[in-house]
């Protein structure tokens, strides 16, 4: 599976990989911009969030940021390994560095404003 071909991205640098469960994380660009990741706070399984709502907090040495839901969903799995070792995000934010897996709770329409990875990269330039 090649993440960059299949993910959809938000302008606030989250990605979502569609599937039976959707995988949500931060793009490689976001991680690079943040620098050394030193703190990560993730939601609990069962928590529900609306599209655009903050669901996690991340901090690099320099700054604290919120992470927003690309679409509405209910958390069914949390990448707990990352909470103990958030610096792993600096190596990879896709294969092993995903944040949560969700069941979507909104309609398909919520995906319409998301960007393909190539559109997202263009947007950055």
């Amino acid at each position: 599976m090649n993440f960059s071909d299949d993910i959809l991205c938000t302008k606030s640098h989250e990605y979502i990989l569609k599937g039976d469960l959707c995988t949500v994380g931060l793009t490689d660009y976001a991680i690079e911009q943040l620098g050394d990741i030193v703190f990560l706070e993730l939601p609990e399984v069962g928590d529900e969030f609306a599209k655009g709502e903050a669901f996690a907090n991340i901090e690099s040495v320099k700054a604290a940021s919120e992470i927003y839901m690309p679409v509405s969903g209910k958390v069914v799995e949390v990448n707990t390994d990352l909470i103990e070792a958030p610096e792993k995000l600096n190596e990879d934010s896709y294969e092993n560095g995903w944040l949560v897996k969700i069941e979507t709770t909104g309609d398909e329409e919520e995906f319409s404003d998301l960007l393909s990875y190539s559109e997202y990269k263009e947007e950055l330039e």
């Binding site: 620098g35 050394d36 030193v38 703190f39 907090n57 040495v61 320099k62 604290a64």
Partner: protein, 367 residues
């Protein structure tokens, strides 16, 4: 317009992430803040701090003038010595913090914060009325390169540093790689090291040469990100965070730097001396978080359910892995080292232990 140092293009070529800082386009990191931080603690790092201000003060009344604007006793400052100073307003609040160097008879160098050059110059000029003093802002003509870390001395010696011995907090005309410069044994990291004041036209050559000759000592260029974590571990104040016009040097825990027997009057003296004698209503403390959360600038601080102050600086300490911070709190005696207080982070209170400053053992004193 955002200003660029003479070395700007070097940083870009080295792949630095650039940010706007105090009106300057500066490197925040080249590789990783944590890696750069450790390089300075373990080996040696090179910083471009040319954004800082260099103001030469000379004239018949130069000593008397400086003595009037800082709490420190400039009359007692020896030739080639440096002293850490503050620039208080009439109420003892700080316009800036500075290092003053005595370069000769009635001849001084003042190094100030980039963000405060205009305010400092304005204040200095307003205070020199009737005095025979020349205030010469040369910030645009000089570059300032800092070499910091336990291997700094080995590196400058290798580069032909012409001084047989130099104590901390002294400045000497020196030759390094054939370039005449002023070598100050000072820094902002808690480590031994040098700050080299050099005319702009030699700065690029010197920058490249230091990186080349420093390879065998593991040198890396260091950005402002690691400069901040290094200075915070050493509990060195950052103007704009830990000091400003509403804080006095006594509140900031800088009483150690203020002579109690200075006769000359200076701005804010009455308030500063009264605070030293009678105490202050707020004080600057060090904190270590007891969980993984990081206290950041502006976060509120609580004690026994009551809001008692706010965080001024906070970060992860790359040397210890702990999260450290500085905060202004109400001056109550229960808030003392090892007391547990709380920081409001994302609407929850998190425990932190009051910790003696500095957070690391400083190694910058060289006899």
């Amino acid at each position: 317009m955002v200003k660029e140092t003479y070395l700007h293009d070097k940083h870009v070529a080295l792949g630095a992430k650039m940010v706007d800082f105090a009106g300057w386009h500066m490197p925040v990191q080249y590789s990783s803040i944590i890696e750069e931080h450790k390089t300075v603690r373990e080996n040696v790092g090179l910083f471009d701090v040319s954004h800082m201000g260099e103001v030469f003060v000379s004239g018949k009344d130069a000593t008397a003038f400086l003595n009037k604007v800082v709490p420190q006793d400039i009359e007692k400052l020896d030739y080639e010595k440096a002293v850490y100073c503050q620039l208080p307003n009439k109420n003892g609040g700080l316009i800036d913090d500075l290092i003053i160097y005595k370069l000769g008879i009635e001849y001084y160098l003042v190094i100030c914060n980039a963000s405060r050059i205009d305010e400092d110059l304005n204040w200095l000029v307003r205070n020199k009325r009737g005095m025979n003093v020349k205030i010469d802002n040369q910030s645009h003509n000089y570059s300032l390169l800092a070499i910091q870390g336990p291997r700094a001395i080995d590196l400058v010696r290798k580069m032909g540093y012409s001084i047989p011995s130099q104590q901390s907090f002294t400045i000497k005309p020196a030759v390094i790689e054939g370039i005449k410069l002023l070598a100050s044994r000072t820094g902002y990291t808690g480590e031994d090291g040098f700050e080299l004041l050099v005319e702009n036209e030699y700065s690029e050559f010197l920058w490249d040469k230091i990186l080349e000759e420093g390879k065998e000592y593991g040198i890396k260029p260091i950005g402002l990100g690691a400069r901040d974590t290094l200075r915070l571990e050493a509990a060195l104040h950052l103007y704009g965070n830990d000091l400003d016009e509403s804080t006095t040097p006594v509140e900031a825990g800088l009483s150690w730097s203020i002579p109690k027997d200075k006769r000359t009057d200076y701005n804010g003296k009455e308030i500063i001396m009264s605070q030293i004698a009678n105490g202050v209503s707020k004080k600057l403390i060090g904190l270590t978080m007891l969980d993984k959360n990081i206290a950041r600038h502006g976060y509120e601080v609580y004690y026994n359910g009551e809001k008692v102050g706010h965080i001024t600086s906070g970060c992860v300490s790359p040397s210890t892995g702990k999260n450290i911070a500085l905060a202004y709190v109400k001056n109550i005696k229960e808030i003392c080292p090892d007391a547990v207080i709380q920081v409001m982070i994302r609407e929850k209170l998190h425990d932190a232990k009051v910790t003696k400053r500095p957070f690391i053992q400083k190694r910058n004193r060289v006899k």
